[in-house]
């Protein structure tokens, strides 16, 4: 606890402080620990009972990837339906269920949980030099709530009346008991409640871990950006998700207990649902985006062999995005006619500024570097292009008149798919390829990874650029068919071809996973010459993560440790934090 880090000697970590601590790991750190070497149960029982953040993180990732593939398959069915004007592949009811479940699975059960339940759970304790999350049992509870919610929502396809069919936003009064009487809707609401609490508990865990379990020497401005973004994400979760839960409970009361909170007939206000939903929903957009921004912010420096450009600017940009995101919810409601347009328009515009700062910081990081394009870097650059177009069209939608013109058309569909696929898929898989060697101790195949990327990248543009045009040609979202005279057929077919290419790209991914298990290539502790603490321990890390730590004098302690000759000139944080270094350091905050 009182180690100073002036000396180049390795420092001993704190005693593992989690409630589940089994004592320090006694093994030699140089030796590759298989998880079999741990105390406690193994096999299936380990997966069911573990409170280890690494096991829970992997469970999260597996579950969320399964929902991702399910949901992606639904997207393919919808694209096939839309490839012809009067297609009869699925009927209206099925189509409505498909787009509702596609959106719900992707947004509630994949995009968020994959980031803050999966990657963050695994990586954040490692990056801050902690033995586990602050509350390991709460962490396990999060996962089991999430699994329960996921199962409920997925199984709602099987109940009489089918799954929910009112779109993932569930606007009242379409979601009330008269218009949506089925059990599927109730399961949908229950699922939101369960996964909502799962998210809240994970948020608590992330915030507590990053505030209190950092290794000695890791001041706030030495936290790697991925963990910084997860801290801000955790705070946003704590702001937003309780509101969603409140909205869901009230809708449930309207449906079953005779309240009239959202019904005009009983004196309620339907648009209240939209306010509450989007008060959660817009912070949620950044709850989904910030973790993925964090991933690429960690990837670019590593593959450029440079420190991050504008570290502090990046932190402040993240904080201001989070702050602004709580005041822009009504830009989803411009066409309701009952919101103050200029206020929400201005705040929405302003988010472009910190987002722009991030873009230039990413470019500045690569500028003058030695860029190598392994798969994680390719996906990160792909993210830049995807998010650039999604971001620019997003600025357009901040203008209420332009929103009037494009609201609920495919223009908006294309916009948010570019943003969300840019972040959750491009940046998400950048993170997956980046940290997979750490998590499993084996490399993914580069050729297959690159094929995955290029198919995805090409398919992505073929799918969504036509959708912008479709929107401008007047095609509304959530329609199961259209008139052949509308002139939408060709663009829809192009979009369908693109979607199939995207789908094909994931076959390379699956083959890659199988390949890495059939013919493993050992990764070693630090295959990418990484910067943050996760690259200092073995791959996969031992149960308590670290037996010793390098001195932490910047946001990239492992790089400093491995390249002492370069860190002297102007390594980030060295001069600036010298005073701090002399102080005794514990969990400084």
């Amino acid at each position: 606890m009182t180690t100073t880090i002036e000396s180049p000697e390795l420092i001993e970590p704190e005693e593992p402080g989690g409630p589940d601590a089994n004592g320090p790991d006694a093994h030699d750190p140089a030796h590759d620990h298989g998880e079999h070497a741990e105390h406690g149960p193994s096999g299936l029982l380990k997966w069911l009972t573990s409170t280890d953040h690494k096991v829970i993180g992997k469970s999260y990732m597996i579950t969320s990837l399964v929902t991702f593939f399910l949901s992606g398959t639904m997207a393919i069915v919808m694209r096939l339906q839309l490839a012809n004007p009067t297609s009869s592949l699925v009927n209206f009811q099925t189509y409505n269920e498909l787009f509702t479940m596609h959106g719900s699975l992707m947004l509630y059960l994949f995009a968020g949980p994959f980031a803050f339940g999966g990657l963050a759970n695994y990586i954040v304790p490692l990056q801050v030099g902690a033995p586990d999350m602050a509350y390991p049992r709460l962490n396990a509870l999060s996962y089991w709530l999430y699994l329960g919610g996921t199962s409920l929502m997925t199984l709602s396809f099987l109940v009489a009346g089918g799954a929910a069919s009112f779109g993932w936003v569930a606007y009242a009064p379409l979601s009330n008991s008269i218009n949506s009487p089925g059990t599927g809707t109730d399961m949908w609401l229950m699922s939101l409640a369960l996964t909502g609490f799962s998210a809240i508990f994970t948020g608590v865990n992330l915030v507590a871990t990053i505030f209190y379990l950092r290794a000695p020497g890791m001041t706030m401005f030495r936290i790697p950006i991925f963990s910084w973004n997860m801290l801000v994400t955790g705070i946003l979760i704590l702001i937003a998700f309780p509101v969603l839960f409140g909205a869901v409970v009230m809708l449930f009361c309207d449906r079953h207990f005779g309240t009239h909170i959202y019904s005009v007939q009983g004196g309620g206000v339907p648009v209240l649902w939209q306010h509450l939903f989007w008060f959660w929903g817009h912070p949620e957009v950044y709850i989904l985006a910030l973790p993925y921004f964090g991933i690429v912010t960690d990837v670019f420096p590593v593959f450029s062999r440079k420190p991050l450009f504008g570290y502090r600017g990046m932190v402040f940009a993240t904080l201001s995005i989070a702050a602004l995101s709580t005041g822009v919810w009504a830009h989803h409601m411009f066409t309701t006619g009952v919101v103050l347009l200029p206020f929400f328009s201005l705040l929405s515009y302003l988010i472009a500024v910190p987002t722009g700062i991030k873009f230039f910081n990413w470019i500045g990081t690569m500028w003058g570097g030695q860029l190598s394009f392994q798969t994680p870097m390719l996906f990160s650059v792909g993210f830049l292009f995807a998010f650039l177009m999604g971001g620019v069209t997003g600025v357009l939608l901040a203008a209420p008149p332009v929103d009037f013109m494009t609201h609920d058309t495919y223009f908006v569909v294309a916009h948010f798919h570019q943003v969300l696929i840019g972040t959750t898929v491009f940046a998400g898989f950048a993170g997956f390829y980046f940290w997979y060697p750490k998590m499993f101790g084996r490399m993914l195949n580069e050729t297959l990874g690159k094929l995955h990327f290029w198919f995805l990248f090409v398919g992505f543009w073929i799918t969504f650029v036509p959708q912008y045009l479709l929107g401008l040609k007047g095609m509304p979202r959530r329609i199961a068919d259209y008139l052949s005279g509308n002139g939408w057929t060709g663009l829809n077919q192009l979009s369908t071809v693109g979607a199939i290419i995207i789908f094909a790209s994931f076959l390379f991914f699956l083959v890659n996973l199988v390949h890495s298990w059939r013919k493993p290539v050992a990764a070693g502790d630090n295959p990418w010459d990484g910067h943050a603490l996760e690259w200092f321990t073995s791959s996969p890390p031992p149960h308590h993560n670290f037996t010793h730590l390098p001195p932490i004098r910047s946001e990239r302690p492992v790089w400093d440790y491995n390249h002492p000759e370069h860190r002297k000139d102007e390594s980030h944080g060295d001069k600036r934090h010298r005073e701090h270094d002399k102080e005794p350091v514990g969990a400084s905050s």
């Binding site: 009067t86 009869s88 209206f92 009811q93 189509y95 409505n96 069919s165 009112f166 606007y171 009064p173 379409l174 218009n179 005009v264 206000v269 339907p270 648009v271 062999r305 440079k306 420190p307 991050l308 504008g310 570290y311 066409t335 309701t336 006619g337 009952v338 347009l341 200029p342 472009a352 500024v353 722009g356 700062i357 470019i363 500045g364 690569m366 003058g368 570097g369 030695q370 860029l371 190598s372 650059v381 292009f385 650039l388 203008a399 008149p401 332009v402 009037f404 013109m405 609920d408 401008l472 007047g474 509304p476 979202r477 959530r478 199961a480 068919d481 259209y482 008139l483 509308n486 370069h566």
Partner: protein, 314 residues
Amino acid sequence: MPLSALDTPSADAPEGPSTPGRSRRWKRVAVGLAVGAPLVLGGCNFYPSYGASRGSTTQGQDTFRLFSGMMTTGIIVGGFVFVLILFTVLRYRRRSDEMPKQFHESIPIEILYTGIPVLIVAVLFLFTVLTENNVDATVPNNARITTTGAPVLQVKVTAFQWGWRFDYPDNNVTVSGEVTNGPGGLGPQMVLPIHETVQILLVSNDVIHGFYVRDFNFSRYALPGVDNRFDLNIVHTGLFPGQCTQICGLYHSEMLFSVKGVTSAEFQSWTAREIAAGNTLARSQPPASNTPPLTTHLTPSNALAAPSTKKGSL
């Protein structure tokens, strides 16, 4: 037409190429161009359509100009960033094992790329507010004559599951239709005179619907419990297809309608014909909500696949 105010600063345009000389000057010119060019372009009469409708109402034309100007700005700014990324990625590919210079910040550049976006956003917001005030302007509720002396026609539009009703209280006419049983498979038709201010009162008695006409560059929710009003000034005759844009249950996809813009004289004779046919307000029934649709433009096979016995989204 807020952007037309910018016709004057277009005098700045020749400044760009005509300023030769030192690098600092060039920088200033470059910055000036980055900020000024979209404005200047926005001020010209040159508005690329980018695939959108140029607008068949004065409001829609305003919106279109804002859209087009913002697209141009977006393409310039986005294109700049695109080229910057592409250049960086190609130029700095790894060529050796030499360790690159470990710089990590440059305060002037960081201030620059914070400040310029703030300026761009401020300008965009200015034009947004100007356009929005035009598009959202409505003549007072009970006015019959606008300040320009033109009459105001009031039409009450009721959206319901799944169709539209158009009531003309001034003319004692009502038109109603469910799903796509109207002319040409486009659903019920709202006939409106051109070159007049038409005020639409948009309501719904069941769920939220979206009133959207592509050629008007406009949409608005029909929100239960809320009276939404907006004005339309159609500028030329024609048939303008419209559609519900907000998911409203099983037959959302089929909830089409159309607007027909006609001359004043044609409008008068149309109302006379409708009254003669008995389509008066007295006939106007509450919307036949949740009744199975009469016809759709589905193929027979699809119609069979559609669960027509299920009412609402069961």
